[in-house]
Symmetry: C2
Subunit: 454 residues, 2 copies
Amino acid sequence: MTTFADKPWEHLEALIEAGRVKDLLDFFESLSPQETALVLSRLDEGDRTTLLTLLSPNDAADLIEDISDEQAALILGELPASDAGRIADELPSEQVVDVLGELDTSEAEEILQSMPADSAEVARTSLNYPKDTAGNLMIADFLAYQEDTSIGEVNRDLQDNQEVYRTYNIQYIYVVDSKNCLVGVMRIHDLLFSSHTSLLRDVMIRNPYRVSADAALDEVSEEFSQHSLLALPVVDSDNALLGIVLPLAVEEAKSKRTVKHFLWLSGIIGGEEFRSMPLVKRSGRRLSWLTLNIVLNIIAASVIALYQDTLAAAITLAVFLPMVSDMSGCSGNQAVAVSLRELALGLLRPGEILRVAFKESTLGLINGIVLGILLGFVAYLWKGNLFLSLVIGAALAGNTLVAVTFGGMLPLVLKKLKIDPALVSSPLLTTVTDMCGFFLVLSLASAVLPRISG
Amino acid sequence: MTTFADKPWEHLEALIEAGRVKDLLDFFESLSPQETALVLSRLDEGDRTTLLTLLSPNDAADLIEDISDEQAALILGELPASDAGRIADELPSEQVVDVLGELDTSEAEEILQSMPADSAEVARTSLNYPKDTAGNLMIADFLAYQEDTSIGEVNRDLQDNQEVYRTYNIQYIYVVDSKNCLVGVMRIHDLLFSSHTSLLRDVMIRNPYRVSADAALDEVSEEFSQHSLLALPVVDSDNALLGIVLPLAVEEAKSKRTVKHFLWLSGIIGGEEFRSMPLVKRSGRRLSWLTLNIVLNIIAASVIALYQDTLAAAITLAVFLPMVSDMSGCSGNQAVAVSLRELALGLLRPGEILRVAFKESTLGLINGIVLGILLGFVAYLWKGNLFLSLVIGAALAGNTLVAVTFGGMLPLVLKKLKIDPALVSSPLLTTVTDMCGFFLVLSLASAVLPRISG
């Protein structure tokens, strides 16, 4: 990387143009996964397609393995389905599911159809379960034996297939009956300590922990933290063994969810945006969110329109209007964040709206009074009008109380309504605190208008 | 849980008061980790202390294992250091580090001093490394043997200590020379396939991948994704083996960091807030952030004060001032979020400010024009004044361009200045877009004032 550190993708473009496969492989060999992600994102679509068809499917898959699922989906989506299928077939099975899960169902199905039937089938099984369920998170890389298998036979199978199993993360072997129903488990280490003639049925741990394929992410995570397991078998409604979930997959899924919420909070709602995407797509996605925001803003600002005369008579108020609404928005967002976290950690049950209302209104009262005194004091220093500073201080105090109480309760109410609170809490909150802030400042001011006008 | 599902902590309080240890254990046995976290958070401090001193340190540690590190730190911090030390000693070593890492250094040291010297030493070694470094993330539960040990001896050691090792997540055995320097590694499964008389020196893989104890979280994560390892050995500057890092620990640390950024973005900056914390503490922490915000708001609003006469002459503008500034704040935050994500994924290098400026200004131009036309149209529908709607539309278009370009560049600039962009991007952005929005609306309006006043 050192020799062409400045713009390594220009070097890459030259290699692609010349079709020098060996040099391309050496080039990528010298890059870290992050650097690979970077240079791939900087190629134009044509060069990227040429590159991935120049390389063998296996080498192309090595590149795809280094990058995020969103970027991988983007890149595979650009290729003809047959090429994408050949590359996908070389990816670890769990990554196939993650990457295809980022594509539209029809795009994913096209790629699946150009994969060999058996590996497509494995991926399809997982993709048929909704995102963030055990069935979607599970992988097919596990070992299961019939209950009448002997330890010696298991050891022989391990030895015969060591090249295949080496790529698995094997912690347990699972024991199934003749109908493929899960009946037992053994830690792989315990094979070292068991007599070769024993049958699995006699040395296995019976009735192992398991999760249903429909189990939600939080349920699976709970199961792991409750029993400190290194893997969890996934079964269907008939108790047939379908796959296993690893703790790392659960942690990664939770991490992805947090990132999604983080992006939502910032108004990036249509999935990850990369600056290498076409401008029109980026612009359109952002606008879809912003135009909704215009509507909310118009609703909030209409309160000001109602009080235009008051405002004209005491124009100083115009300086404080955005301050009161912004400050309360910040206070309310703090309460929203605490509720979202407490819900995520299980420290708050969705039904406990009254508890939150009490906890937040007491805090809102204190913070409202402190902030109200501060801003009222600033107003007094500036204009020397006691009534003006009382109006501003009281409005900020009252609006803080409303914002904090409403903000704390909002995620619980949305959850009851089965709306994801991370998506809509913030814009809803801002609209309400803006309206209420404008109303408080202007209605209080109109009550004492002769004292503050001019 | 079903019989006292409504307020299980009241049942718990009764058991604590009666000092019924056996019933307490049965009670907690019936709870999931999330329910344990919930009931512990709802006890008052006195009851919680009584509970944890009633139970044996081992049983108390079982409860602590079920809850988040932040909550565990809070609870251990309430106890006398000697009791906290006895409980901490029963926790898995990596959790001791995570939990004590959440406390003040002096509080943590007090607890360490009441722990047995050897386990305190293990925890101290990790705690001496800064958060989110390999040294801080590593655990001491690994197996290392001298290079002249035979496979037979290793097997015997595994067998003799199986009860201890059973709690480890063992994937590899490490091989060290007489100075404890890391010289090799073997996959534990390969013990099944090696002759008992071979020496480790002859069958081990030489020069294994490793990380330095100072390596940052992203570096460790990069190493894992580059080599698909199940554990990474951590060495000091002399290559002496100190511990191992597991992929799960890395993923959890990344997840914690994302949560912290999420909280920061919402103005929760002093660490997690739980509603079970004392009101004064919660209020004070939130205020420390809000008072900074007041200052930023005053700076932004001072622009309005400069143009008071313009505003008084065309009071309709007051309705549009918060709309233009809010909308641009939203647009800018989208650009901030995309930059933060691209930086995190390595798709953007901190030096590429010009690239971002170009990518965002083109997008800002398009979105600015679209939003400007929309809002201008709304203004025309409402007031029927072409000049007014041109002022509003042009101000929003210009401010969107500024907000998006500035928002996209801001995280890179802050990174160059070694300030964490997740902490300050959003308030800085809002201040700039507010000021610029107010300025654009009011200065454009004053240029055509006779046409829009009245």
